[in-house]
């Protein structure tokens, strides 16, 4: 074995051009495996990081019957305008939801987070219409940026903080309609609120005209009801674990809130899921194709090498080498070429990946999966050895005289 290794190293040094050619070919095999697989994976992961939670946001609520038995139910036991004011979601009266139900929703394995939300419709105090107010829980559950309004959607002013119960945010269109500005006061019910920000969120499940803290809205609602509701909540803001788990999350929410509950959500999660699936499968299929093809290429390199060296093998056999010695010699050379080329290929791939534009890479950065590195190192060696065994055995089985005659 030691002799085989020594002769193989000697041969490698003696045939420098052949060595360079073989190592260069294996270099490309290793590099192609790592670069192509990584790029397919990076494309999948980056697109997935963008699409992961697209549309995976919902508001759940429980509509309240407007007619119960013989009698008409008002939206709430409102003391001023019971037909128009009250707990409203999607323009419909709603029931109160308990904190325990929200906690149960949070415990669903398909739900990332859930937080209480309060929506109350109140008579307009400028003109004759109605305003919808959203009360946001600002104490730590960061669901509202995706379901109601995010800090990045502030057009002017500052996003309200927890404890700022006398400050509100108004939607851009609402502010335009009523001529409101940041810093001005707006009378709602018995209270005057300072406008802290004008916001412009896109269509959201919890869309309202005015946003304030949950505690602030509860305080306002107390003054509008005949019967005081204990810490009322009439909607739950939910962020599913991701678009892929959105349907399961909805099923869990429906089972917790009951069959009469309703969930308002986007339809965008379906194309997002489809696009993620396409990218995912593409990455796997391309990785599979590259591994298979490069294995064949590595085998071809070694096969060609042995075929070209049948004359050398004939000479070795003529001077007394045994078949197994020839095979071991070829295999050892193949290993040296494969390992050297593979390591160089993986290193080259790393360099190339770090030279690619940074905006191609998402949150995962320029990392390369370990299994891809493993494949990049293993394939040249495995392909070389496999083809080396087959072709060396074939060459070794031939008669020495035949080989030398054909040379």
């Amino acid at each position: 074995m030691r002799d085989s290794l020594r002769y193989a190293v000697k041969e490698v040094w003696r045939r420098k051009k052949r060595t360079a050619g073989a190592i260069l070919s294996y270099f490309f095999v290793g590099a192609i495996v790592v670069v192509v697989s990584s790029l397919a994976g990076v494309t999948r992961d980056t697109a997935q990081s963008v699409l992961w939670n697209v549309g995976a946001h919902s508001v759940a609520y429980s509509p309240r019957l407007t007619i119960y038995g013989c009698c008409i139910q008002t939206f709430a036991t409102d003391k001023y305008d019971p037909d128009r004011e009250g707990f409203v979601v999607n323009n419909a009266p709603t029931n109160i939801i308990s904190e325990e139900e929200i906690e149960l929703i949070r415990q669903s394995p398909y739900v990332l987070d859930a937080s209480p939300y309060l929506m109350f419709r109140i008579r307009s105090f400028l003109g004759s219409g109605e305003w919808l107010i959203g009360g946001i829980d600002l104490t730590g559950h960061d669901v509202y940026p995706y379901t109601v309004v995010a800090k990045s959607q502030v057009v002017e002013g500052e996003f309200i903080e927890h404890g700022e119960d006398n400050r509100i945010m108004v939607e851009d269109d609402f502010a335009g309609t009523y001529g409101l500005e940041v810093g001005s006061e707006l009378q709602i019910g018995d209270f005057a609120y300072e406008i802290a920000a004008i916001v412009n969120p896109p269509l959201r499940p919890g869309k309202a005209n005015i946003y304030m803290s949950l505690e602030g809205l509860r305080e306002l609602i107390e003054t509008r009801l005949d019967e005081i509701a204990e810490l009322p909540i009439n909607a739950v803001l939910i962020e599913s674990l991701g678009a892929r788990y959105h349907d399961q999350a909805h099923a869990d929410i429906a089972s917790i809130l009951g069959s009469s509950s309703r969930i308002t959500s986007y339809g965008c999660y379906q194309p997002s899921m489809m696009a993620m699936g396409i990218n995912d499968r593409t990455a796997w299929i391309i990785t599979g194709i590259v591994i298979l093809c490069m294995l064949l290429v590595a085998m071809k390199i070694q096969y060609s090498s042995v075929i070209q060296r049948r004359f050398d093998i004939g000479v070795l056999k003529a001077i007394g080498w045994r078949d197994e010695n020839v095979v071991i010699q070829v295999m050892t050379e193949a290993s040296i070429y494969g390992i050297t080329g593979g390591i160089a290929g993986v290193a080259g791939a790393f360099i190339l990946i770090h030279l690619l534009p940074g905006d191609l890479f998402g949150d995962g950065g320029r990392s390369v999966d370990n299994y891809v590195v493993f494949a990049g190192l293993l394939l040249p060696v495995a392909g070389g050895l496999l083809a080396g065994i087959l072709s060396a055995f074939r060459a070794a089985r031939l008669q020495t005289a035949d080989i030398l005659r054909k040379a």
Binding site: R18, G21, L24, S25, F28, A31, I32, V36, T43, A47, L51, V54, L65, T66, I67, I72, D83, R84, N90, N91, A92, S124, S128, G129, L132, E171, D172, D173, G176, T177, P202, L203, N209, R262, I263, T264, Y266, G267, P271, S272, M274, A275, I278, R281, T282, I286, I289, C293, M294, L296, V297, K300, I301, Y303, S304, S305, I307, F311, L352, L360
Partner: protein
């Protein structure tokens, strides 16, 4: 030239094993190139198809900043009005919607009339009505994203009259079902379908045809109006063009105009861009590395033949003849291997349900970009010939005596 190919063919037949190995290398390289680039193209197409119109729907409106009733005088102005998300709007001619539809960034634009009405004198709840053009199925798709959003009954069809669709939350609260009758000013409207409470650019309780909505509106206002709407439903040309479509719509609608739409067009557009860039880069890298691999492989094949070249030179072949012979062989091998690779890649892609593997619709059939086939084949042949030429030149620099001494 004929001699060159003739000798190359002779040599190919004489050295079957070596020739097979070289051609096999070309076959695998070209097949890998064509399959990988085709897969990348199909994936890019599939992801773009899935996300092309995601979130690219919105409405364009003009706010009534003066709170003047939007150009019409409601008889019950305190409780009825041209309200969208509780904000008063103004009427504008249908021709503006047609103008929006002519924008290059808009795929479709449809008229919409939406307003709030009081139910009746006994129950003073306000309902939101929306009238759309049922003959324009694109607008129906926008109001109800797809037929799957119908939880019961059917959509309104072209030619329908005196029929309504109800939002599920509204139907729950008011306890209406399919087949029930709603009354507006003694005119009967049959409920034909119930919609799920998904997020839509226009949220209403009741959806009906534009003509019917116009009729209901005229029963509520002092001066009847015709050919006017207060919103235009816009389908952007794509999620990538949606921002431009919004700008165009605001520009056409003019002063105090606004757009309300989804936010998911932005990540959808980003994901399309990521997938497209990733797959293009992957294709480019595969192309370049495969060409380099082919060149290194061909170089390796020729340097192994120093002995042959030495013998040819020793028996009197001129340098030109040797180079011609090597180029001829490279050309022959690359043409045969390349053609076989193209054929096998085509066969594999046509034979296997590539689209279904990637999760595309069943109707999808894989098509080839002829440019990939042609460029893959010709560039591989060119790379093989160039590598053959370079390696033959390198071998020629050696003296025949030196080559033969090394045998």
């Amino acid at each position: 030239m004929r001699n060159m190919i003739g000798y190359a063919w002779k040599e190919t037949r004489r050295r079957k094993g070596r020739s097979m190995g070289t051609m096999l290398g070309y076959l695998v390289a070209v097949a890998f190139l064509v399959i990988t680039i085709t897969f990348a193209g199909i994936s890019r197409f599939g992801a773009a198809e899935a996300l092309q119109y995601t979130g690219a729907q919105f409405i364009g409106i003009i706010y009534d900043a003066g709170l003047e009733g939007g150009g019409v005088e409601f008889r019950d102005a305190g409780k009825e009005g041209l309200l969208i998300y509780n904000n008063p709007t103004v009427l504008f001619p249908v021709s503006l919607a047609e103008e929006v539809g002519r924008s290059p960034n808009v795929r479709n634009a449809a008229p919409l009339l939406t307003f709030t009405v009081r139910t009746d004198e006994y129950v003073e709840r306000s309902w939101i009505l929306s009238g759309f053009d049922a003959s324009d199925m694109e607008s129906v798709r926008m109001v109800s994203c797809s037929a799957t959003d119908i939880v019961e009954g059917r959509l309104i069809e072209p030619g329908d009259s005196d029929v309504v669709l109800l939002e599920q939350t509204f139907a729950d609260a008011e306890q209406y079902g399919v087949g029930d009758i709603l009354y507006f000013d003694d005119r009967e409207f049959e409920v034909v379908g119930i919609l799920s409470p998904g997020i839509r650019p226009v949220k209403a309780d009741i959806y009906m045809t534009l003509d019917d909505a116009n009729w209901v509106l005229n029963t509520r206002i002092e001066e009847p109006v015709h050919g006017v709407i207060n919103a235009v439903l816009v389908d952007g040309a794509s999620s990538l063009a949606n921002r431009s479509a919004m700008n165009d719509t605001r520009e056409i609608l003019g002063f105090n105009s606004s757009t309300i739409g989804y936010g998911c067009f932005s990540p959808a557009g980003t994901a399309i861009g990521i997938t497209a860039r990733g797959m293009q880069l992957l294709g480019l890298i595969v192309f370049i590395t495969i060409l380099l691999l082919v060149m290194s492989s061909q170089y390796y094949s020729v340097v192994e033949r120093d002995n042959d070249i030495g013998i040819l030179k020793a028996i009197g072949w001129s340098d030109r003849n040797v180079v011609s012979q090597v180029i001829g062989e490279s050309f022959l091998h690359s043409v045969i291997g390349g053609l076989a690779g193209v054929a096998i890649a085509t066969f594999l892609i046509v034979s296997f349900p590539v689209g279904q593997w990637l999760g595309l619709e069943e109707s999808f059939t894989a098509t080839f970009d002829p440019l990939v086939l042609i460029a893959g084949f010709f560039l591989t042949v060119l790379a093989g010939v160039i590598a053959g030429f370079i390696s033959a030149l390198v071998s020629l620099r050696l003296k025949p005596a030196e080559i033969l001494r090394k045998l």
